[in-house]
């Protein structure tokens, strides 16, 4: 069921919040794709009863009476939050993250926390301590990552909305691989408070749903100015859901010259060409742009993200919270053993890369250079947005791939993020939407907008979805 229908059913009292929750929990319990890490049945039922008993208070809230699943990176008060890691497998945060708090206040009911790559490091959901997630479109396929559980949850029709986070593509890539809509907002639009940090200068939370309508309503709930996050911006006074009704005429949409040169599979390119004609059919003008700098984003990202990760993850030392080894001989050994036991291979690798690029003697050669490349990417976007309103490109290089395929060639996996990383480096908003079905698997198209243009991105995606059926495809 799509989000709009589900919310309307609650508002018209044709189904109670409790009934919606019971139905969803049934699906969570029979899930065979390993989508969830923990389900909170008792808490969900009691919240649903509270909402039913206070119908008038919640009726007009953006997410009224709708069950939601949160990525297990968002802290939930007194409810286990693992971040996909052994390090936090029993961690019960003392507070709710702002995102969870906002969603609770907006009338949604959290059913479960979704599986994810460990500490959000991965593009296939295979680095989770709790095992890989299967793609609803094929059990042997990955759902993408790191928010693989949240994307699969929507594609498998378990909830109609879920939350994710995107540091290098972790919302958009799984959205594309699972055939749903997912958005990374402008850096700073959604508070990062209580969202376990990976790369603080790029991490950003965002919505998943089948369509732009669900994403708009969820973003209305998620975004807020937050004094607890010093990088959180003052959001525009705007209702994303209402702005979907605004007329859009004659937008200039940038399409990248020679994009096939980036190693994109022909299935993706075919869908891309088809959706370009849809955009033209809606009255928009396509304009070729040069973006040859795009590919250097990868090098910059794989320096900056590990650098910030090695710093952020230094807090896991077995002293204040999380896993503690029982094998330690002294304090130094306590740190060493705890971290060796608590972190998985991919996280260890990224900590080592980060430690190396930040260590004396290597800082200028790596970290400083990467920050300069980041400036080049940002400047290039600014130059492009003088000429066009939006940029359109595919989300990924390829469709959902088989499990274990990429672990043999990690650089290939890293390169998968080629088309998503630039928006993170520049802090720009971007949305991925389903734009075709090839070999019975979905493909994704991506629109990147200027800073705080979420309303425009959601609106144009909604307009595309009014004249196409790609977002209605089911596995």
């Amino acid at each position: 069921m799509n989000f709009k229908t589900q919310r309307e059913n609650f508002r018209s009292k044709s189904i109670s919040a409790k009934e919606a929750v019971q139905e969803t929990i049934k699906k969570v319990k029979t899930d065979k794709l390993n989508i969830f890490i923990n389900c909170f049945e008792r808490e969900a039922l009691s919240k649903a009863e509270y909402i039913d008993n206070n119908f008038a208070k919640f009726k007009d809230q953006p997410l009224s009476g709708v069950p939601i699943a949160h990525k297990d990176i968002f802290c939930t008060k007194d409810l286990i939050t693992t971040c996909g890691s052994k390090m936090l497998k029993d961690f019960k945060p003392p507070y709710d993250s702002t995102v969870v708090d906002n969603c609770n206040n907006s009338g949604s009911i959290m059913i479960a926390k979704t599986n994810m790559d460990e500490f959000a490091m991965g593009s296939s959901n295979e680095t989770s301590f709790f095992g890989p997630v299967s793609n609803p479109w094929g059990e042997n396929l990955v759902p993408g990552g790191s928010s693989g559980g949240s994307a699969a949850c929507i594609a498998a029709d378990i909830t109609s909305i879920s939350t994710g986070t995107d540091t290098g593509g972790s919302i958009r890539q799984p959205a594309a691989l699972c055939g749903i809509t997912g958005m990374k907002p402008t850096y700073g639009l959604v508070s990062r408070w209580g969202m376990i940090a990976f790369c603080s200068s790029m991490d950003q939370a965002g919505p998943f749903s089948k369509d732009a309508f669900g994403c708009a309503a969820l973003l209305d709930a998620m975004a807020s100015h937050d004094l607890k996050d010093s990088t959180c911006s003052k959001r525009k006074n705007i209702c994303y859901e209402k702005s979907l009704n605004d007329n859009l005429d004659n937008l200039k949409i940038g399409v990248i010259k020679n994009i096939e040169g980036f190693g994109i599979h022909e299935n993706i390119l075919n869908s891309y060409e088809t959706s370009k004609t849809v955009l033209q059919g809606l009255g928009h003008e396509l304009k070729e742009i040069d973006f040859s700098e795009l590919s250097s984003g990868i090098c910059s990202y794989y320096v900056i993200a590990p650098a910030e990760c090695s710093s952020n993850l230094s807090r896991f030392d077995g002293v204040k919270f999380g896993h503690r080894s029982t094998k330690q001989k002294d304090i130094s050994d306590l740190y060493m053993q705890t971290r060796s036991e608590g972190f998985g291979d991919e996280v260890k690798k990224r900590i080592l890369i980060g430690t190396h690029v930040l260590s004396a003697g290597f800082y200028d050669a790596y970290y400083l250079k990467a920050q300069k490349v980041r400036r080049i990417i940002k400047n290039k976007f600014e130059e492009i947005f003088k000429d066009v309103d939006l940029i359109f490109m595919p989300t990924t290089l390829d469709q959902a791939f088989e499990k274990n395929r990429e672990s043999s060639d990690p650089n290939r996996m890293y390169k998968e993020d080629l088309l998503t990383i630039p928006a993170n480096l520049a802090g720009l908003p971007a949305i991925s939407f389903p734009n075709g079905l090839k070999n019975n698997l979905p493909t994704g198209g991506q629109l990147v907008g200027n800073y705080f243009s979420e309303d425009l991105l959601l609106n144009i995606t909604n307009k595309i979805q009014e004249v196409t059926d790609w977002h209605k495809m089911t596995p």
């Binding site: 507070y95 204040k320 690798k349």
Partner: protein
């Protein structure tokens, strides 16, 4: 990267990896640095580094005590604590 450099790195990051695994780790790290080194082909001399994507204003708030920072909550999450203290192995003999 050689074995001595790796050992130093593992110590800095406080991560232990068995000696027999070292060649595999070195290979993985070298692979990633090959990818990163593509950066060296760019002319970056005149470019200013960028450490945050947005020119944001700092958000400030009153520096007051609140229930979020209740000591009890945080000590409860510790693997081992005693009254007001986190317990760790003895540091000085």
């Amino acid at each position: 990267m050689d074995k001595i450099e790796l050992k130093n790195l593992l110590f800095l990051a406080r991560i232990g990896i068995e000696d027999k695994e070292h060649p595999k780790i070195i290979e993985k790290l070298t692979n990633t640095f090959d990818l990163i080194d593509e950066m060296n082909e760019l002319d970056l001399d005149e470019v200013q580094p960028l450490n945050n994507p947005l020119e944001l204003n700092n958000v400030s708030r009153e520096d007051s005590d609140n229930d979020r920072n209740a000591k009890k909550n945080f000590l409860e999450n510790s693997p081992e604590s005693d009254e007001d203290y986190f317990i760790v192995p003895k540091i000085i003999e």
